[in-house]
């Protein structure tokens, strides 16, 4: 009960702060949005000027006997009010995008999700088996891990140009960046998780006749499965951070492109809408995966009794 309240609170509190900053005129509001230009040439209705600047213009017009400009306190363009973001969130799905190659928000998102999926899937295809092998067989670990330890410090963006040269300008290099960013960490993390498996379980299975591949498949893999699942959830989060890099190389695309486009035209309400959706998507999917994990691994000590 109180846990749920705290959960909700952790989201509601920042929103309340945002509302106060946006709607209470004497909190912050360092600018004035002009409603009437008056005698000032360069002012136009809808423009935002700094409060000091505005005040001095008002004083000047009064002195000259002209109509002083009028306006209301406002926040900078990069901090839209909650209701503006809410409207943007709605129109993002209802109003067709501007520009020639304009993309709907959901199209951009879907493209990003596909990049993440393929990058993470391909990385896991190699990284998980290799990690399990390295964790279970010291020989494999000694052969593989030093190189990976070296390689993982090379920043993934450094491979951007190379990836484009090899894989073209479309989705290939983007997926490659996600793979490069995820794979090496994945091997090390999974190998570590595998090593942490209780040796008694392995020894017990050996006294019962398990050996070789069967030992791996029937004991090691199920033994680490709940922890492996947790690792994969965390690694998936890391893959998201490489998305930004991935989407800026070659032809920019996906949600990163959407956000940079919207920011360029100063549509910050759309930017925030995209951020809210990405956050909801990431948080929501992780929450679902956690629920699924509890279903899949009813014996898991870390979820038992929760």
């Amino acid at each position: 009960m109180s846990r749920t309240l705290l959960h909700i609170g952790s989201f509601v509190l920042p929103v309340i702060v945002w509302c106060i900053v946006s709607y209470v005129p004497f909190v912050w509001h360092p600018q004035v949005e002009v409603t009437l230009a008056g005698g000032v040439d360069y002012l136009q209705p809808g423009m935002r000027v700094d409060s000091d600047e505005f005040a001095s213009q008002v004083a000047q017009m009064r002195e000259q006997g002209a109509t002083p400009p009028q306006g209301v306190p406002a926040n900078p363009i990069y901090l839209p009010a909650p209701h503006e973001v809410a409207v943007a969130l709605y129109t993002a799905f209802t109003k067709p995008p501007e520009g020639r190659d304009g993309q709907w928000l959901h199209q951009s998102l879907w493209h990003s999700v596909q990049i993440i999926f393929w990058g993470f899937f391909l990385s896991s295809l190699v990284g998980v088996p290799l990690g399990v092998l390295a964790g279970a067989q010291p020989v494999v670990a000694r052969l593989v891990e030093p190189f990976i330890e070296f390689f993982r410090y090379l920043p993934a963006p450094a491979f951007g140009a190379l990836a484009v040269a090899v894989l073209g300008i479309y989705d290939g290099p983007k997926i490659a960046i996600i793979v490069i960013g995820t794979l090496f960490q994945q091997v090390l993390v999974v190998a570590n998780t595998t090593r942490k498996l209780d040796t008694t379980l392995v020894e017990a299975s050996r006294t019962l006749g398990a050996r070789g591949l069967r030992l791996l498949v029937r004991v090691v893999v199920p033994g680490i499965l709940p922890d492996l699942y947790r690792d994969q959830r965390i690694l998936l989060g890391w893959a998201w951070t490489y998305l930004i890099v991935a989407e800026l190389i070659g032809t920019s695309s996906g949600i990163t492109w959407y956000i940079t486009q919207q920011a360029r035209y100063q549509h910050f309400d759309n930017v925030y809408a995209a951020i809210v959706i990405i956050g909801a998507l990431g948080f929501g999917s992780d929450y679902l995966l956690a629920r699924l994990g509890r279903r899949l691994f009813p014996w898991d000590r870390q979820t038992v009794g929760r």
Binding site: T200, L201, R206, T207, L208, D300, R301
Partner: protein
């Protein structure tokens, strides 16, 4: 232990007991250990964990191994199980040298070693599945063994839903399902409370009576050793060597009432003397009570 007994009373066996040991010696030898030695290479140089261990175990004999902590009991049983290698000597099971773990030797560990992702039934089936039994056969056999340890009702439960004693019973069933020649047990009841422990000892004797299995049982509980064993192998530490092998003169069938009997007490006293030899009179530890401690409670707040 106030009444004086002859020091070697534990060597006196009644007619029935002597005849029983005679019968045991007639049976075939299951396990033969000759001149077994084990050295570990550690950072501080070589550690000699075991030296020149000789042991012969006959079929359906119950042998307990005791000794001070660190004397190499676990090392010994792990070598027998094939989980560790030995440095010298040989281990023969049914006359054949032991190489690696095998189904002919079952093992029960001190810690919980059940597979947490499998139900109790699937845990017991594990060994059979590894031997290539069909699922159906394995299942019906597993259920029989679960009934034998009195846990038939918990076949579909997961290990984390069982108490400590129940888990060890499942572990015993899981080891026995392969019908091993010898059951190796490394302090299997060490983590249990006294009451559960007593119950488990009764259970184990009952199982041992009813099936054809030889048991090598490690413990540091002297009562447990005397209560369970035909013979007790006493090890001493640094390096681990056989100090004495004691034939327990307590008649079978055993029951908890025998704990106060003369044979039991004599054997226990002998083990006590071997494991905890009378300490030298002047000892650093004797100065402990006069230690100068800083008072960390109120001066008037006395507990004694």
């Amino acid at each position: 232990m106030s009444n004086r007994q002859p020091a070697n009373l534990y060597l006196q066996q009644s007619e029935a007991v002597r005849a029983r040991f005679e019968r045991i010696r007639q049976r075939e030898v299951i396990l033969e250990v000759r001149g077994l030695g084990k050295r570990y290479a550690s950072a501080q140089g070589e550690v000699e964990a075991l030296r020149g261990i000789d042991l012969t175990v006959h079929r359906r004999e119950f042998v307990c191994v005791i000794g001070p902590s660190g004397c190499g009991k676990s090392t010994l049983i792990r070598i027998l199980a094939g989980l560790d290698s030995h440095s010298s000597g040989e281990v023969l099971l049914d006359g054949k040298p032991v190489r690696g773990p095998g189904r002919d030797r079952g093992m029960v560990f001190q810690g919980y070693s059940l597979f947490p992702w499998l139900t109790v039934k699937r845990n017991v089936m594990f060994g059979l599945e590894m031997s290539g039994y069909a699922r159906g056969t394995a299942e019906s056999e597993a259920l029989q063994w679960l009934d034998l340890v009195g846990l038939g009702r918990f076949a579909e439960a997961y290990p984390h839903q069982l108490s400590g004693g129940m888990r060890q019973r499942v572990a015993i069933a899981r080891a026995l399902v392969n019908q091993p020649r010898i059951l190796l047990m490394d302090e299997p009841f060490g983590a249990l409370d006294a009451q559960t422990r007593a119950k488990m000892q009764g259970h184990l004797l009952e199982i041992w009576r009813n099936i054809d299995v030889t048991i090598l049982f490690i413990t540091h509980d002297l009562d447990e050793a005397v209560y369970l064993a035909d013979r007790v192998l006493v090890l001493k530490a640094h390096p681990g060597e056989v100090q004495e092998v004691i034939e327990v003169p307590v008649p079978r069938p055993r029951s908890p009432e025998q704990f106060t009997g003369p044979e039991f007490r004599a054997t226990r006293a002998r083990l006590e003397a071997l494991i905890h030899p009378p300490a030298p009179p002047v000892d650093d530890d004797s100065r402990v009570p006069t230690m100068h401690m800083i008072r960390m409670t109120d001066v008037s707040d006395n507990v004694e």
